[in-house]
């Protein structure tokens, strides 16, 4: 006797529902559609938007938040949050640049030192959350201040300039057709691809999703949840360090005042990209789309001569729409 699939039968039989089930969910497609819509709008309204060079610029401009958003996405997937990201990035960039300039360390030593400092802070976050069992919001609120203070004290609130050429490597460009593309943008895209691979094609990635979706179930199924959580925050810290390197390459200096709005900006990118703040659901590539949406609006509105206060307004509306779409799509499903 075959057990019939009972309660779900009526809804799934409707033909449009069967098609809808095969398409990616609205939370995945939505951000991409929004980005395409915005792009189309600006392409029509201003003749300077649709240019390879302009797109290359936008990619460079979203690099800082875009890379930080990778780490933030990983953290948010575990139902956590990381408010310290921008400050940890700034710390890494100051360590990196001061080691190169003040201590005269070769770049291939200074850069890992900077990324190492950021990674250490990531581990600190993870340790406080798992060993002392403090909520991520509180922990990263504290480490954000600690990282900021250390950065100011170590740099004496001065920007570090006169960097050796190697630190600017990722700011160099190469030609793609008629467009100049920076290596930093390529690195960002590679990082996104790598993270996508780990999240979707490996067991560890599935475990991260399970941890955010139902931590108790993950634990019962033998997944080392505490170790995994520490690992996620540590990897996020390393990613913030890489963001610091890319920022140094883009601006040409180590800036201790950098990254102060990056926590909210990266969370915005993650939310716009369709990842749920409750954990366990979302797309890493969505965060790139989310960062691009903000970047496209900022670029397009400036090209159109619209005051930037409207950019802030639109970003706010989009965030509400993104979160509402996520809730509504789950209520239906």
């Amino acid at each position: 006797m075959t057990t019939p699939s009972t309660a779900a039968a009526p809804a799934h039989d409707r033909p449009w529902r069967r098609i809808a089930d095969r398409l990616p969910p609205i939370t995945t497609i939505g951000p991409l559609l929004a980005l395409l819509a915005a792009g189309t709008f600006f392409a029509v309204r201003t003749d300077r938007f649709l240019a390879g060079q302009n797109f290359s610029l936008i990619l460079q401009q979203v690099m800082e938040v875009g890379v930080i958003a990778i780490g933030q996405t990983l953290v948010i997937l575990t139902a956590g949050i990381d408010l310290s990201c921008g400050m940890v990035m700034a710390l890494g960039s100051i360590v990196m640049t001061k080691f190169a300039v003040d201590l005269g360390l070769a770049p291939w030593l200074a850069i890992p030192a900077g990324i190492g400092a950021s990674t250490a802070f990531g581990y600190l976050n993870g340790a406080l959350i798992t060993f002392v069992r403090l909520p991520p919001f509180i922990v990263t609120l504290g480490t954000l201040n600690i990282a900021f203070a250390i950065t100011q004290i170590y740099s004496d609130a001065q920007t570090v300039s006169g960097l050796p050429g190697a630190l600017n490597l990722f700011g160099q460009t190469f030609r793609l057709g008629s467009t100049e593309v920076t290596y930093g943008v390529v690195l960002m895209l590679l990082l996104y691809a790598l993270t996508w691979f780990v999240l979707h094609q490996t067991g560890v990635g599935r475990h991260v999703y399970a941890l955010g979706n139902n931590a108790e179930a993950a634990r019962l199924m033998g997944i080392p949840t505490q170790r995994l959580l520490r690992g996620v925050y540590t990897v996020a810290g390393a990613i913030y360090g890489v963001a610091g390197l890319l920022l140094v390459a883009r601006t040409g200096v180590g800036d201790p005042q950098a990254g102060q709005t990056d926590n909210l900006d990266s969370i915005t990118a993650v939310v716009l990209g369709g990842t749920s703040l409750f954990g366990g659901r979302g797309q890493i590539l969505g965060s790139l789309v989310g960062a691009l949406i903000v970047g496209v609006f900022r670029n397009g509105l400036t090209l159109m001569g619209v005051p930037s206060v409207y950019q802030i307004l639109i970003t706010g509306i989009l965030v509400i729409l993104a979160v509402a779409t996520d809730r509504l799509s789950r209520a239906r499903g």
Binding site: M1, T2, T3, P4, S5, T6, A7, A8, H12, D21, F197, Q201, T202, G203, V204, R206, H207, Y209, A210, N213, N214, E216, A217, A218, L220, M221, G222, I223, G280, R281, G333
Partner: protein, 266 residues
Amino acid sequence: MASASPAPTPVLEARGLVKRYGHVTALDGADFQLLPGEILAVIGDNGAGKSTLIKALSGALVPDEGEIRLDGQPIRFHSPLDARRAGIETVYQDLAVAPAMTIAENLFLGRELRRPGLVGRLLGMLDRRRMLEQAKGHMEGLKIGIRSMRQAVETLSGGQRQGVAVARSAAFARHVVIMDEPTAALGVKEGNMVLELIRRVRDRGLPVILISHNMPHVFEVADRIHVARLGKRCAVLDPKRISMSDTVAVMTGAKRPEELPPEALA
């Protein structure tokens, strides 16, 4: 019990289990036997030591005294993982599934299959096709009719979700499946569906320990009934030879096992 053939080795056995929490003695020399190919229901009033017994058998806690044997060999569990590695799977009361993930993903949660060769070993790349196929196989083997293994578990009904959890434990269990209140949250139709699933698991050769408060369900599927009382095994009853009300009476202490006719004991 009178029997012509020699008594089979119990699949899972415990003798003299003791567990104390401060002044409270949860297990007071409890015994336990699970025979091959049976569905053994474990019942007991609150505080009878039923859940503590099950936790000891599934590795969720370590008893202070006593011994546990699996297939006749003594064994010690220090964690639920130890029990799983020994081939004992548990279907938890809240199912322990990740609602946003698919049926296939949940089935292999924590035990994902990797691609063969370098790609699987070095990169840890998942073999999703194989997991989908095997998931389909496991579900069909238990005759659970869900069309797509790609469906998110949260889109399923309560009974279907229970089916996924049962299929997961049946897929990986080598010796025992423990089910904790599997029909508690379900309606009549789906509850019966799950009972049928339990029978199918037993029919595939996996003995089942069924913890349940639902007497009608117990009487429908159980081969024997283990009654826990006051931290010990009070009696083991034959549901075909004893009434439901007498069983409840033994469970609450209103009737003593000595007062029962001998054929009621299993």
